[in-house]
Amino acid sequence: MTASVTGQARAASERQRSIFKVPLSVALSVLVALFFVAAAITPAALSTHSPFDTDLLSSLTPPASDHLLGTDDIGRDLYSRIIWGTRQSLLIGLGAMAVALTSATVLGFAAALAPRWIAEPIDRILEILLAFPTLLLALLFVALLGPSATSLLFSVGIGTAPGYARLIRAQTLKVKSSGYVEAAWALGHPGHTIFRQHIAPNAFRPLVALFALGIGQSVVWASGLSFLGLGVAPPSPEWGALLEAGKANITVAWWLEIFPGVAIVFVALSFTQIGRYIQDRLEGTLHQ
C-alpha cells in the first residue's frame, strides 16, 4: 500500500511540475499557431511584398532571396499572399468550428439529457446524418448556398457537426451515468443542481480540446472545397484558392502548389497537437 501511495503522490507532483514543461512537439505547435495568428491579425507586419502587386517581369520565379517562396503567373509574391490569406483561412476554420460546436453541443446535450421523446428522435437524426460523409454533406450545402466564404463556413460547420454531436452525446452520457452523479442523487440533490454542478461542467470540459482539434480540420476541409472551386474564388489569397489558382502551372511552378499546402498542414498539425495535448492532460488529471 505504502508503495502505491507514494507512487501516486509522485505521479501527481510530476504532473504539477510538467505544467511548466510541455513536450517539445507541443511547444513547437504553439509557436507555429502563434505565428499564424499573428499573420492573421497583422499581415502587413509579416509580409515582404504587397500580396496584390503584379510584376509581369518576374512572373513564375522560383523561391529565391527576393521572393522567399517564389511568385505566381502574374508576378505576385507567394509568401506575402500566403500571409495575407491566413486571416480568411483561419476565420473560416474558426467560424466553421463555432457553427459545428454550437449546433453539436445543443444536439449532443439534448440527445443525452432530454426526455426520451425528444432525445430519441435527435439521436436517430444524428445517426442518419452520420451516414453522409463530411465532405458530401458540406458539398450539398455549398450546392444550395452557392460558393462564397460564408457558405463555405456554414457548409463545413454543418458537415462536421454530426460527428461532434455524437461525441458530446457520448461524453454526456458517460458523465450522466458516472458514480459521482449517482452519489449526488443519493445525497438528495435536485436534478437541476446536479446538472449545474456535475453534468454540465464535466461534459463541457473536453470541448476545449475538441475546439482546438477541430479548427485544424476545418481549415483542411474549407481549403479543400476552395481547391475544388466550390469555396473562395482565386483572386483571393485564401489557401485553398491559392492551390486552385496554381493548378494550371503545376508542371512549371511546383512552389505554387507546395507552399500553400504546407501552410494548411502546419495549421492542421499544430492545432491538432495542441488539442491532443489538452485532451491528454484533462484525462490525465481527471481519470488517473
Binding site: 500500500m1 508503495a3 501511495v5 458516472s178 452519489a183 449526488a184 438528495g188 440533490h189 436534478g191 488529471t285
Partner: protein, 574 residues
C-alpha cells in the same frame, strides 16, 4: 528457516528429506531508470522451495510479492532490473539467461497461474487453443496427440465435457471452469514448479473452494507450488511454509502453523488480527480510531421515539431489467427485509445475486416493478421527487470504488461542504470547520481538506466517502461492498471506524458484501441472497452457526477460514 522448511516437508509427506528445487538469496528488483524515479520494489528476499512443497508469499498490495514471483520466470516486467546473490533452479542459475533459454523453461519447467482467467486467457480464442499453444511452443507431439492431451489435462483439472469446453472461449465458461482451464494451460507440460498468483481472488467462495481443491491435487501429485495471496485463510489451506512480505522485504518466514499460531513479527500479528470472522465479532480489528467531537450531530435530528415501526421496511421487492436485445432478467425476486434503528443488517450473496440492485431500490434510485419500501412507515418508493429527496438526505450510501463517486473537479473540502450545506443550509457559514471535524471523526486530518481524492490512498478515499455519508446526519448508511477493494489491514481500520460511528451516532447499516467473514463480523442480522431470492434470514449467529438452507450451508462449507486454537484464544482474550 532451513530447518523449519525441512521439518515441515518431512511432516507433510512423511518421505524424508526432499530435494531443494529453487533457492533464492538476496533477490533485489528495481523499476525505472537510475536516479529519482527508480523504485526498489523487492529488497533482499530469500526463498527456498523443496520438491512437492507449497510455499506462500503473503502480503498486501505493494508488498512486492507478485514481482518476486515473476522474477522467478524472468518476467519481472518492462524496465525492471533483477539482481540476486543466488538464484538457482534445479541446479542451474536463472541469472543472465537469454530469452531463448527462458522460453524453453517457461511453461515446461515453471508454470504461472494468474488471477481471473476471464482476462488471463485470450478472450478471443477457445481455451483448447490456449492449452494447445503451450504444447505446440515446446514442440510436444503432433496435432492429434496434442488434441488428446488437451482433453486429458482438462479432465485432470476437473472440467466436465472437456471436448465441448475446449472449443469455448473464456468468456463463455463459468468462473470456476475458466480458472481450471487457465490452470490446465499452465500445467499442460507438467512443470515441476507452478507459481499461482492470487489464483482464487475475485472468485465466489464456492468456486474458490473448487480451485483450491485442484491446487491440492497438484501438490499431491508432487508439483511444487509458490502461492501468492493477500488472503491468509486461503494460504492456511495450502501452504507448508509462509513468507510474510511487506514493502518489498520478507518480515517473517516459517512453517504455516507456527506463523499463524505464534507470529513473531508485529505485522504478521496485525494481519492475522485484521481478518474479520465469526471470532472477531464485537472486537476491534485494528489499533486505530477516529476522534469524534461531541455535538458533531445536531440534537434536533428526528429520532422519533417510535421504535415499533422499523426504520426501513422493504416488502416483496421485484425488479426486472431489460437488456437492449429485449431479454428480460428478473434480478430481485420478491425480497422483504426490515432494518431497525441502530442495527446492522448484512446482505450476503455471490456476484449476480441481486444484492446491489436491492440496495439501489432501498435508496429509491431504482423503482421496483412491484413491492414497496417504507421509511419510518412512509412509502417512499414512487413518492414525489421532493419528498424522495427529503428521505434521501436521511439515508447515505458508500460504494466499493469511492474515487468514481467523487466529481473529479472537486477537492475533499468541496465534496464535504456540498453534502453538509445540502443537509443543513444553516451550516453554510462554518461548513469548512464542520468538514474538518468530520475528517477527524473518520480518522483523517484537516490538512486533507485541500487534497484531491486522486492523490489519496484507497483507504483514505473510503474515509472521505464515509465522512460524506455522515455529513448529512443520516439515520441509515448503505454500504455496498464498501471494504471489498481494500487491503485487509485497511479494511480492518475501516470496519472499526464503522463500528465506532454506529456506537456513537446510532446509525443503522445496510451492509452488503460477498465476504462472509466481514458480514459475520459486522452484522446483527443477516440476509442471504441467491439468484435474486432471499434464501435465508436471521440473526448472524443463527445463520452462520445453524444454517437452514442448503445454499447457506454450502457457502459456509466452502469458506476458507483461519482455524487455529491460538486465534480463538486471542480473540476471547481481547
Amino acid at each position: 528457516m532451513n530447518a523449519f522448511a525441512q521439518a515441515q516437508v518431512m511432516s507433510h509427506d512423511g518421505m524424508g528429506a526432499s530435494r531443494l528445487i529453487l533457492e533464492v538469496r538476496d533477490l533485489n528488483v528495481w523499476f525505472g531508470q537510475d536516479g529519482d524515479s527508480r523504485r526498489h520494489v523487492v529488497k533482499g528476499v530469500d526463498l527456498e522451495l523443496y520438491a512437492g512443497q507449497c510455499i506462500a508469499l503473503v502480503g498486501e498490495s505493494g508488498s512486492g510479492k507478485s514481482v518476486t514471483a515473476r522474477s522467478l520466470i524472468g518476467l519481472a516486467g518492462a524496465g525492471s532490473r533483477v539482481e540476486a546473490a543466488n538464484l538457482t533452479f534445479e541446479g542451474e542459475t536463472l541469472l543472465g539467461r537469454s530469452d531463448r533459454w527462458w522460453r524453453h523453461v517457461r511453461g515446461s519447467k515453471i508454470g504461472l497461474i494468474l488471477q481471473d482467467a476471464l482476462v488471463s486467457l485470450d478472450p478471443l480464442r477457445p481455451v483448447g487453443k490456449e492449452i494447445d499453444e503451450a504444447l505446440w511452443l515446446h514442440r510436444w507431439g503432433d496435432r492429434a496427440s496434442r488434441r488428446e492431451k488437451i482433453l486429458k489435462i482438462l479432465g485432470q483439472v476437473g472440467v466436465p465435457e472437456p471436448a465441448l469446453r475446449a472449443k469455448q472461449r473464456s468468456g463463455e465458461l463459468s468462473g470456476g471452469l475458466r480458472q481450471r482451464a487457465l490452470i490446465a494451460a499452465a500445467i499442460a507440460l507438467h512443470p515441476n514448479v507452478v507459481i499461482a498468483d492470487e489464483p482464487t481472488t475475485a472468485l465466489d467462495v464456492t468456486v474458490q473452494a473448487q480451485v483450491l481443491g485442484v491446487l491440492k491435487q497438484m501438490l499431491a501429485r508432487g508439483t511444487s507450488i509458490i502461492l501468492i495471496s493477500h488472503d491468509l485463510a486461503v494460504v492456511s489451506k495450502l501452504a507448508d511454509i509462509i513468507y510474510v512480505m511487506r514493502g518489498g522485504s520478507i518480515v517473517e518466514a516459517g512453517p504455516r502453523d507456527r506463523v499463524l499460531n505464534r507470529p513473531r513479527h508485529r505485522y504478521t500479528q496485525q494481519l492475522i488480527d485484521a481478518v474479520p470472522s465469526e471470532h472477531t465479532k464485537g472486537t476491534r480489528l485494528s489499533a486505530d480510531g477516529g476522534v469524534l467531537r461531541p455535538g458533531l450531530f445536531s440534537q434536533s435530528r428526528g429520532r422519533s421515539s417510535n421504535n415499533r415501526v422499523p426504520l426501513l421496511d422493504a416488502r416483496n421487492i421485484v425488479k426486472t431489467f431489460r437488456s437492449p436485445d429485449g431479454i428480460r432478467r428478473t434480478v430481485v425476486k420478491g425480497v422483504s427485509f426490515t432494518l431497525a434503528r441502530g442495527e446492522t443488517l448484512g446482505i450476503v450473496g455471490e456476484s449476480g445475486s441481486g444484492k446491489s440492485t436491492l440496495a439501489r431500490v432501498a435508496l429509491s434510485l431504482e423503482t421496483p416493478d412491484s413491492g414497496e419500501v417504507r421509511f419510518e412507515g412512509r412509502i417512499w418508493t414512487g413518492a414525489v421527487p421532493a419528498e424522495q429527496r427529503q428521505i434521501r438526505k436521511r439515508i447515505s450510501v458508500v460504494y466499493q470504488d469511492p474515487l468514481s463517486s467523487f466529481d473529479p473537479r472537486w477537492r475533499v473540502s468541496r465534496i464535504l461542504t456540498d453534502a453538509i450545506t445540502l443537509a443543513n443550509p444553516s451550516r453554510a457559514q462554518d461548513a469548512r470547520q464542520y468538514a474538518a471535524a468530520l475528517l477527524e471523526a473518520v480518522g483523517l486530518e484537516p490538512v486533507h481538506l485541500d487534497r484531491w481524492p486522486l492523490q489519496m490512498s484507497g483507504g483514505q478515499r473510503q474515509r472521505v466517502a464515509i465522512a460524506r455519508a455522515i455529513a448529512t446526519e443520516p439515520e441509515i448508511i448503505i454500504l455496498d461492498e464498501a471494504v471489498s477493494a481494500l487491503d485487509v489491514s485497511v479494511q480492518a481500520q475501516i470496519l472499526d471506524l464503522l463500528t465506532d460511528l454506529q456506537a456513537q451516532l446510532g446509525i443503522s447499516y445496510l451492509f452488503i458484501s460477498h465476504d462472509l467473514g466481514v458480514i459475520h463480523h459486522m452484522s446483527d442480522r443477516v440476509l442471504v441472497m441467491k439468484d435474486g431470492k432471499a434464501v435465508e434470514q436471521g440473526t448472524a449467529d443463527q445463520v452462520f452457526y445453524h444454517p437452514k438452507h442448503a445454499y447457506t450451508q454450502s457457502l459456509l462449507a466452502s469458506l476458507p477460514r483461519l482455524e487455529y486454537a491460538q486465534l480463538r484464544m486471542a480473540a476471547s482474550a481481547r
